[in-house]
Every structure is written in structure tokens, then in C-alpha cells.
Symmetry: C2
């Protein structure tokens, strides 16, 4: 019940600059903080109560002064990542979730339509709306930078392979593939909607990989290009309901020769859904249905494994990220599934 | 971080009718539930994950069927009260809180202006916007019905007293006073803005107390009517910052003769703000600053006590509601302060 107010109270103390003001000079009063951040001292005092309660900030009752407590120990880099997450949730989801029930009923993003007049998914809306794009893209770049090294450490890409990065957006995944799995003759192709081509090719050039990376424009639901040994599917399957996941996996299967490989990275729910150390079910259903796709959401690893088999693959390897190794401010617990086409 | 998504996922399962469908007929599958509530089974399954995680709903993995678990034991009346609260928070606060930082900076309700084009407080906006009014008034009636008997059990109203119910809205507090503290000659007057008069007098008539209850129109910040023995201030002081609380208490003090009484009911923060069993600081600062007033928020009992003394009162009695006696779905922990004018 207090989830929305807790979320915004904490974020607001950062947005106002109260936390920075206490880092710059500890031991300030509410009156001093109010002057620094341009808010009434009463409001600063009210909002800081929660941070004191949670041990993020300390309060000296006698002197009426505040210092950073738990927050003082959080490295700047971790804090920035957490705030990037919180800002994304605020901009992309908070108001949109008001319409969650209608979104679930209609399978469309009612919140996006009501707030922005946009009909479609978040991935289309970010192209038109700067506030959504900045909140979303900043987070996704952070997520990719943090998780891609792990993904490429887990998967095997044969020397000289032809790799297709499915729904590879503007090429970051292809660039990372080339860099982290380098081998003589390795070629990586980004496959995504045609409108991504120009930016993708520019990125390849900028990163000096244009001789090894290329782009194919198309829609995965119309078919997947053939002639590749390895297909990568990162941050994608969780966006869809079962019927569409099957369409994707079957299309990938058709595109591969027997023995061809698929490597999937996707957030997964814990096998025991009641596992209280994993926050994926607290977040993703509402986020996908109400704020990004109007459908979708992750599955358990065992479900993805079964679906792969049903779509003609043999699963050769699965690794779930150790949730103890996931920073506490990062919600998704990711898994990698490696599979080979059997028929 | 997952506060907003958790909140709306839970509420949405009620709004969709999934919980009712499981109460009507336990053991339904996601496919059956989807058909009953008019949503895709995938969405029902995704949203129910959180309720399974929290033990509200049980899931039989083998059969793929759901039953009410923890929710089965919650009496209908408690569930209705919790949903009234959640709906109020959704309608009055969820989207508005997006603008909390700007509201704290400006001391105005930026969310109300952005969403409704309304400049003013929630208490003005409810008069013009039915969705806000219905969500808000339904909750406030529930709150008053649950808490007024406790308040009147704590306070003492001398026989035949002339009682003023400060900011008494449309008369419910006056009616309750007359009913619960009846004595020969008792007279209760509702004091509120003049536009409340017609509805208030109609309520007095409807309840058959029009010979004992009356209305005076005015604004507490312009002065409090004289000639009363007892002033009641319920659900009001927490709406204001310290300077306005002082203006109110000083105006009440001026209006009373020495020995005159004031009885205050207000939510209070725990004396140890880090008390984790009390959710008032999780809720009220953001709620008052971002969604209802642009200022305000409760204080500790000790703070209100000190402020009363500073405004010329002697505190004769304080009682804080036992938080164990507050249902888990009710956020405010209320206190009563009784005081007598000394100078």
C-alpha cells in the first residue's frame, strides 16, 4: 500500500538534491537543507523521515542535524545505477501503471495512449518522446554494459562463425560479440527493423568494426535470415506471450541448419515462485503488461527449456546468474540458455 | 524500487475480478480465469505470480490451478476497507506523485495541475472532479466510521457544553458528537467554509439532529468563532506546516475563555522514527506534499504536545492508538490530545 509513496519519497530526496547537499557538508539542519535545495524546511524534514527510518540518513535529535548514514557507504557508481533504474521506473511506469487493469484487458498500453497519445509499444514511443527515450535508453545502456560481459563469458561462439544478433537494435550487441568473442573470420550481423540500419552502421564505423559487422533489416515475425551458425537472442523473449515466443523460436529454428546454435539471455523467475530473494515477479508482469508491451513477462528457466525442446532444439547448457552476485539495486535475475537445432 | 509495480499488480488482480472469480469457484486455471475476467491467460498468469509469492493465492503446479490462500481468510469487510484505501491511493496519489519533487519545491500540487488543470488543494479538487471525489470521500467515510467511536470514547465533553467542530466539513463529526456524547443542553456547531452550509444543514435534518446542531461559515485562518466550551480538531492539523498549525492553535486559543478545552485527533509519527511497525512516515509526507496539500504531514505526539504548550494550552491527556489494534491495511496511527487553555 505504501509502495508508491515510499518509492517517490526516496527518489525525491535525490531529485531535490538533499542527499548531495548532505554529502557536500554533513550535519546540516532541515532549515539549511531547505535553503540549499530550494524547498521549505518543513517539506525537507517530512521527506527525510523515511530515509532516517530506513537507516539511509542519520538524524541528531538534539542538534536537529542530518548526516548520510547507510547512503554514505554506497559507492557513487552504484548509486548512479540505482537512480538510473528509479528514474526509468518513474518516467516509464509510475503514471502508466494507473491503467494496468485496462492494459491487461486490452493487451495494449492504455497508459501510453492516455499520457502521450501514443498507440503502440514503449519501444516505438521512445523514438518519438525524448523523456521516455532518455529514461529508457540510459538504463538499457547501463544494463547492457553490466550484463553483456557475463553473457559472452558463458556462451561459446565457434571460431570464424557467422553470428546473427536477433533484435540487435543499433548494433551494441554485435560490437560486443565481435570484441568479446574475437576469432579469425568471425562475422556478426545485427537483425532488426529497417529503421535502425543507419544508426547501426554508424555505430559499427565509429567503433571500427565495420569490416566484421553488418546489418539486415526485417521483422522477426516475418522470418529470420538464413546462413548463420549462431543466433543470439538477448533481452527479447521476455517481451512476449507464449504464442509469440514460439513464433520466434520456430522461425530461428527454420533459419538454422541442423547443429546450428541459439544463445538466449533472458530474465527468469525463480523455480519456486515464492522465493523472497528474487524481485522479478514483483516487477516484470506489471512493467511489461502496463508500461512497455501490453503483454509479455519472463518465465521460469524450466519453462524456457521446455519451450526450446518443443521448438526443435536440444538444450546444451543453462546458467542462471547468482542472485547474490546481482547488486541489490538491479532487479532482473538473468539466465543464459544455449541450445542446438536437432530437427 | 518495486513499490509501484507491487502496488498495481495486487490492485489489478482485484480490479480484473480474478480474486472474485477464485472465491466463486476455486481451482480455476489461468485459461479459465482469463475467460471469466476478459483478459489473456498469459496476463492473468503473470499478474498472479506476485499473489502466489506473497501467499495470497495458492497455485497447484501439477494441475495448473489457483485457489485463494491467505486471501481466503480475510473477512469481506476488511478486504473492502483495504481496497478502498488502495483505490484512493491509486486515484489520488499514484500519478500525482510523479511530480513530488516539483510539489515540494513549489509548495503546490503540481500533479493536480498537470493531470486535472486544477490549481489548489485536493480538498478543492474533489468538488470539481468526480473520480477524485469518489475515491477520496469513500475512504474518508470509512476512516471516520472506524475511528470516531474511539475518539469520542477518549475525550470528555462536559454536560450541556457548547462544542465547535473545527473544519467539520458537512456535519458528520457534529452528528457523531451529539450521538456519542449526548447530554441535556449539548449543542454542536460545525465550522467550515460557507459553501459547506447547505449540505451540512441537510445532513443535520436527515439525521434528525437539527435542533442540536448548527453551522457557522468561515475560514479558520481568518479567526475562530467565540462562545464555545470545547473545540474539536479532527483530521486537520496534519494537513499543515508548523507555521499554519500555530496559526490554527493560536486562533483556537483566542476564541476560548480560560479553562476552555480543545480535543485533537491526528495521525502521529512514532517517537522513534525508525520504528518499523508504523507506516506513517512511509506514506504521509509524499501523500500530503505531493497529492493533497503541497505541504503538511503529521508530527510526533511529543511535538504536538510542545506546540500546544507554546500556544497557551496545558495538555491534560494524550492517548495514542495501540498500533496492534489498527488493522494491518489501515495506515494512520492516530492519537488524541486533550488540552485546556491556560492563558
Amino acid at each position: 500500500m505504501v509502495g508508491p509513496t515510499r518509492f517517490m519519497t526516496l527518489l525525491s530526496c535525490f531529485e531535490l538534491g538533499v542527499v548531495d547537499a548532505l554529502r557536500d557538508r554533513p550535519g546540516r539542519t532541515a532549515a539549511e537543507l531547505g535553503q540549499v535545495v530550494g524547498a521549505k524546511p518543513d517539506a525537507v524534514e517530512q521527506l527525510l523521515h523515511l530515509l532516517v527510518k530506513e537507516g539511509f540518513v542519520g538524524y541528531d535529535e538534539g542538534a536537529g542535524t542530518y548526516v548520510l548514514d547507510g547512503l554514505a557507504e554506497v559507492p557513487e557508481k552504484d548509486l548512479r545505477r540505482a537512480l538510473t533504474y528509479m528514474n526509468m521506473i518513474k518516467v516509464v511506469a509510475l503514471r502508466q501503471l494507473f491503467h494496468l487493469t485496462d492494459s491487461a484487458r486490452s493487451g495494449t498500453l492504455v497508459g501510453l495512449k492516455e499520457l502521450y497519445g501514443y498507440q503502440g509499444t514503449l519501444y516505438g514511443a521512445v523514438a518519438e518522446h525524448r523523456d521516455l527515450r532518455e529514461a529508457w535508453a540510459t538504463l538499457m545502456d547501463t544494463v547492457t554494459a553490466n550484463i553483456d560481459p557475463w553473457f559472452f563469458g558463458v556462451i561459446d561462439v565457434p571460431s570464424g562463425a557467422r553470428v546473427l544478433d536477433l533484435a540487435g537494435n543499433t548494433g551494441l550487441g554485435a560490437i560486443n560479440t565481435y570484441r568479446m568473442k574475437a576469432s579469425p573470420g568471425l562475422r556478426v550481423t545485427t537483425f532488426d527493423l529497417p529503421e535502425k540500419e543507419a544508426e547501426c552502421l554508424a555505430n559499427f564505423k565509429l567503433q571500427g568494426v565495420e569490416e566484421h559487422c553488418s546489418f539486415i533489416g526485417g521483422d522477426v515475425f516475418d522470418g529470420v535470415p538464413e546462413g548463420f551458425d549462431v543466433v543470439l537472442i538477448k533481452h527479447f523473449l521476455d517481451m512476449f506471450d507464449k504464442d509469440d515466443v514460439f513464433r520466434i523460436l520456430q522461425a530461428v529454428n527454420r533459419s538454422l541448419a541442423p547443429g546450428g546454435q541459439v544463445n538466449i539471455m533472458v530474465p527468469v523467475y525463480p523455480e519456486d515462485i515464492r522465493d523472497s530473494t528474487n524481485y522479478n515477479v514483483d516487477f516484470f508482469p506489471a512493467f511489461f503488461i502496463g508500461a512497455t508491451m501490453g503483454q509479455g513477462g519472463p518465465q521460469k528457466l524450466s519453462t524456457y527449456r521446455r519451450w526450446l525442446v518443443e521448438c526443435g532444439f536440444e538444450v546444451t547448457k543453462t546458467v542462471t546468474k547468482d542472485s547474490a552476485a546481482v547488486p541489490p539495486d538491479v532487479i532482473p535475475v538473468q539466465a543464459v540458455l544455449c541450445a542446438t537445432k536437432t530437427h
